[in-house]
Amino acid sequence: MTQKKICTLGTSAVGKSSLVARFVKGIFSDQYLTTIGVKIDKKTVAARGQKVDLLIWDLNGEDRFQKLSMNYLRGTAGYLLVIDGTRRATMDAALALQHKAQATIGDVPFVVLINKADLSSEWEVREDEIAEMRARGWTIQQTSAKTGAGVEKAFVDLAHKLV
């Protein structure tokens, strides 16, 4: 079985831990609990006809209070770049993190998750901005950790890029 380390990147409160909890355990909590440091989960998915053991490193969000240690990215095969669709500024933060990640570990595969799709009426990230990211060749997936929509697909899409 292939084992791959992947990370979640994004600013705080975009739903990184909730996405991992939804994917790994199928659960969701409305209560926001900030992540300090790192939590590692494991889940096996099927990609391109083989089983891939995903080691999911759920990292703390980077914001004005806490920086993300790029050291965590060592050995990372791919990552999920998470944006909160209801907060436009989280997209800018994600783009900045993507630059940092690229500078640290090079061109490794990643998938952009625009989370909180269940709150789409509150979205601030615009369609043309999403289209612009797609035009760069990025894989974009709208997700809702709350309902589970798009979550499995996002992780499996990344796994496909890794094998």
Partner: protein
């Protein structure tokens, strides 16, 4: 024999796990295992047999790579890991911190709970981020209310334009007796003042949001979009006559189509007023504005086509944004189409403008049929 000469359960009582790294890279637990370690890895060898903790505490795999430099050193340095979370088989989460050090020539890995300083730090981060989210939510709420106010003020301008046009027609066609002319002129001046006031108010606003919306509670109260169109075109008839413009309404659907849609009367009429007044403003003098209602099964589609110059290509993507307006829209602040979009979308519909129209603009929107929308909500 305990190499540290300590009671074997002392470290466990202090919730610390002390491991010694053997030459083969595996680790031996010194003393007894703390509760949390047994909780995370119940199969932990109890006889002091070597094992690989990084296979169960995955973060250690990352940390041990860095710790190797400490163990290879002269023993003067220590390395403390970041905080990480381990989930026990019971589902409980343990926050841990590791320290690598060299002690009496032995390579030691100490794993324990983070210090109490960390707990304080964590609660500060939590509170700061919670406050940040609360502040953001509050600002959005303020934004919402502000735009609701904008839209209301903006909405006053359309009927006022109708009043002005009517008064102007009375004056131009000399339909008022000479004794009433003075009052007519006063009326026109007051309308102009009010329009100026509205414009001044609107230009002071500059934020984005959406109105607080309500939909009709039952099918009987749901608005009939055909009737709403007729009411709005009647209200605009005076303005239309100034440009010799005709509204032409066409209905496409089975005879039993009820034309009732999701939403409420007042806001639906405002959407229609904004779109029709927009078409009227841009269409050529003497032209026809075609309004078409189509029954699409679950939804009603409305299209409004004028015979003006159409929408410039560079405006298409911005049409429904707040404060978006073409160069010829003097006196408008670009809230009308924005209001239409956020309202239609909140009612579960869609709105747009057909691209590449050469002979005028064609705006359209869909709204769920009232009965169907209510059934799906149940």
């Amino acid at each position: 024999m305990n190499p540290l000469l300590l009671p074997p359960n002392l470290l466990a009582q202090l919730d610390m796990a002390v491991l010694r790294r053997e030459n083969d890279g595996r680790f031996v637990l010194l003393g007894e295992a703390p509760t949390w370690l047994r909780d995370i890895y119940p199969k932990l060898p109890s006889n002091g047999a070597p094992w690989n903790p990084e296979q169960h505490l995955l973060y250690l795999g990352h940390f041990i790579e860095e710790a190797d430099t400490i163990w290879a050193g002269d023993g003067s340095a220590q390395l403390v890991s970041d905080i990480w979370t381990e989930e026990a088989t019971s589902g409980k989460e343990w926050l841990l911190e590791a320290t690598a050090m060299k002690l009496d020539g032995q390579n030691i890995l100490l794993i324990k709970f983070p210090s109490s300083d960390f707990k304080t730090l964590r609660s500060v981060y939590q509170e700061a981020r919670d406050q940040g989210l609360r502040q953001y939510t509050l600002l959005k709420e303020i934004d919402k209310r502000e735009v609701l106010l904008h839209c209301t003020v903006h909405d006053l301008s359309a009927p006022l334009a109708g009043i002005r046009a009517s008064l102007w027609l009375l004056k131009e066609d000399e339909m008022v007796k000479p004794v009433g002319t003075e009052f007519l002129q006063i009326g026109l001046e007051q309308v102009d003042k009010m329009q100026g006031l509205i414009q001044d108010t609107l230009v002071t606003f500059s934020t984005r949001s959406k109105p607080l919306l309500q939909t009709a509670a039952n099918l009987e109260d749901a608005p009939n979009i055909e009737e709403s169109i007729r009411e709005v075109t009647d209200a605009l008839s005076a303005m239309a006559s100034l440009k010799s413009v005709t509204f032409r309404l066409a209905l496409e659907g089975p005879p039993d189509t009820g034309w009732k849609v999701a939403g409420d009367h007042a806001r639906l009429e405002r959407i229609l007023f904004n779109l029709l007044e927009n078409a009227l403003r841009h269409t050529r003098d003497g032209s026809v504005i075609a309004v078409r209602l189509r029954d699409e099964g679950h939804a009603i589609r409305v299209s409004i086509k004028d015979q003006g110059e159409g929408v410039p290509a560079d405006m298409m993507n911005k049409l429904f944004e707040k404060f978006s307006q073409g160069g010829s829209n003097a006196g408008k602040v670009g809230l009308g189409l924005y209001f239409c979009r956020i309202t239609v979308e909140d009612w579960g519909g869609e709105i747009g403008c057909l691209p590449n129209m050469r002979d005028g603009a064609c705006f359209w929107f869909t709204l769920p049929k009232a009965g169907l929308e209510m059934q799906s909500e149940k």
